[in-house]
Each structure stands twice: as C-alpha cells, then as structure tokens.
Symmetry: C2
Subunit: 231 residues, 2 copies
C-alpha cells in the first residue's frame, strides 16, 4: 500500500458510459419479473432495445427528446407489444427503479483507484443531466467525476460525433488520449470509430458485434480498466 | 371494369419501402426454422433487429457498407449470440433465400392498379442496388417502377434525410406530394418526420411506436393503399 504508484501516463482521462457500465440495471429486470411473473426478461430486453432504437431514430432525424422520456416511451411500447398491463403505479415503480440504480460491486473501488492515480474521470451518457445527477448520487459516486457529459447539451445521442465531441472539449485533449469505457459493444465500437481509445466491458461474455471494428481493449469488469491504466 | 377511373390527384407519386413491405421475408424465417429447429423465430427476429441496428449505427457514424453485407454481418452475429452453428453452406442458403423473396400475394395486383391509375411508382430502400434489382425481378415486379432508389447512391440509411431526399429529387415534386408506404413503423414515422405523406402497412397488428408521431395513414395490406389513392 505504501509502494509509490507509477502515474498512468498513457491516457489523459478516462470517460465512462453510464447505464450498464457504471450502473447496474439488473434491479430493473428483477422488479419487472416481480410485476410480470415469467415475463420480466422479455420486458427488460425489449425495453432496452426500444430505448436504444428510439434514441438512434431521434438522433438520425434530429428529433431529440430527453432520454428519461424516451425510456418511458420504450417501456410503454414494450408492455403494449408484450400484452402486459402497465398501469400508472407499475410504470412509476419501474421508472423509479431506473432512477435509483446501484453500482456494480467493484465499480466504486475501481473508480477511486483511477482517481487516486491522478486520472481525470468523466461520464458521457445518453442520459439527460437530471437523470445522471440522480444516478451518480444514488450509486454513491458523488465527487468522483470531473465532468458529467450528457446528451441534453447537444440534443442528440450516441453514436453521433456531436455527443462524443463533448469529451475532448471538456478534457482539453485529443480523443485518442481518452480511454472510453462502455459495456455496450456498439458504444465501444462507435467511440473507437469516433477516435477514442475504447474499452469494452463485456460483462455478459457476448460475441463481438460484426461492425468491422474491434474495441481497442476488452475486459469483464471495471477492475480490468484499472489494470490497463496502471500498465 | 369498364367504369372510367377517377385520376388519383392527391399524390404525385407512391414510393414503397422494400423488405417486409413489398417483399415477404417470411420464407427466410421458414428456412431458418428448417435449419435450426425450434430456433427459427428467435434467429429471424434477432437477425432483423441487428440488421437494422447495424444500419443505424453505420448511418450515424458515417460508416456505410452495402446492406447486403450488413445483412450477412447481422446473420453471423445472431447465430453466434444464439449459439447456432452457422457453417458456410447454411449461411449461403439463408442469404440466397433473402435474395429471392416472393411478393405478398396482394401486392402485384395492387401495384398494377396504382400504375394503371397513372401514378408514378418507386422503391426507396436501404438495400443496395444489386440487391433490389434481384428482388424486383424475383418477385415479378419488373417494369412497374419508375425509380428504384437505393442507399448506395447516398451511402447512408434511413432515417437520414439524405436517403429520403432521393424521392423528391427523382420525382421532381415536394415530399408531401409523395405517399411513402412502409410496413416498418419506424420508417413510416421517420418518413413523416422527413416530410412525406406516410402510410404504415401494419400487417402484424403491432402497437404504434412511441415516437410522438403517427403515420398519416394506416392499413393492413397494400390494397388499402389503392383504396386511399382512389379516394
């Protein structure tokens, strides 16, 4: 513990995706299963799929709407599609669950170690600012990040250049000096296309998306990012 | 039959999406089920989802690749994700099935009636030109369309403005005078956002996507488009 740490010289900053990367959305699936026994998995999968789909369509067609509202739209569609009765009470409890996610167990320690190594940290998320402020507080991550970068500043979503642009601007360095960490393969690839050095946290052991590009680095948990940065 | 037809004055042209709208992709699902018994549905659904996802990500990040290749990429990912053994022979037979789709039974007659009513017709598709030429021939639709408009001209995909732009340019009229017909709800909405008059062929009786916009018209089959145009 007293051994002096070698400074992490390879990167000027580490920037994280939020949902699924820092914040564990599993509790939402658990609640979905409680509310709709036997259909929780189907609901949480379709909900996530439509949430992303709506963000991409709105990004392409310049029809921005806060991610929180898109999340609710996707929930409503998914329940209608699956024939699940979503009343106001169930909707509120699922959305509230989304607002108060916990961190993956190893994340807090990993973030503290990165910060202790002198690395500026940030979040770059599709979530709107209110949404991400609540999530950071709720996960006990207050004070760990130098920049919380959100879609509402630029009114678009990943993988558009204009949202990724936020990080090099905020940290004042070229994108390739930023390690961009995401558990979403498409985001890890999109961020590499953009110019970041990218790290895919492949928690689920999923196959690589077939997009003719690999993330620069891959691991299973946030601790693997610490290992890379320390060299 | 000898009654003189009232000319369709409300629209200057009718433009169709291709896959799922004109061409029935059901035969692909049937083959998938034959090759992977019990998993055909899961495969064809994920395949379609990833095909669209890859087109959207590539559109947003300006990483165009012909839709035919994206379709193959999506198939490979989907089999890997579902743990299905896709060898070269199975891949070739699934892709060949995609290349030689049949038309929905009512479509040929509906298209002929629209053409007989004096309306210029077109296809506007994510598919690359080679792909759509083969599909039109294979479905017996040769000679019915004034314009086959394809993603490869503009190197991007729906719902980007630049691909929808192809239709007003080709037909020389404002977008609102073009009736844009798609069985994909997101495309019917995206085309309305763009400025077309849009018609959603909701074959599956699906709920409307929650995107704060409704298609201008909705029906179940292509014959409903003929009824609208005739007034």
């Amino acid at each position: 513990m007293n051994k002096p740490r070698k400074p992490a010289t390879a990167f000027s900053a580490v920037v994280f995706d939020a949902y699924g990367t820092l914040f564990d959305v599993h509790s939402v699936a658990t609640l979905a299963e409680t509310l709709f026994p036997g259909r929780g998995d189907a609901l949480s999968q379709l909900w996530r799929q439509k949430q992303l789909e709506y963000s991409w369509l709105r990004a392409m067609s310049r029809r921005y709407k806060p991610f929180w509202e898109i999340t609710r739209d996707a929930l409503r569609f998914s329940c209608a599609r699956l024939g699940l009765a979503l009343n106001a009470e169930r909707e509120a409890s699922l959305m509230n669950q989304y607002a108060s996610l916990s961190a993956f167990p190893e994340n807090l320690q990993a973030l503290r170690e990165l910060k202790a190594a002198g690395l500026p940290l940030g979040i770059l998320t599709n979530g709107n600012r209110d949404m991400i402020d609540v999530a950071v507080r709720s996960a006990g991550m207050t004070g760990l990040f130098d920049h919380l970068l959100s879609s509402d500043t630029v009114q678009t979503f990943k993988t558009m250049d204009t949202i990724y642009d936020l990080a090099p601007k905020a940290f004042g360095c070229p994108a390739r000096e930023i390690l961009f960490v995401s558990s979403n393969c498409w985001d890890a690839i999109g961020s590499r296309w953009y110019g970041f050095t990218s790290f895919w946290i492949n928690r689920g052991g999923l196959p690589l998306d077939q997009l003719d590009t690999e993330p620069d680095h891959t691991g299973r948990v946030l601790t693997d990012v610490v290992a890379l940065v320390r060299g």
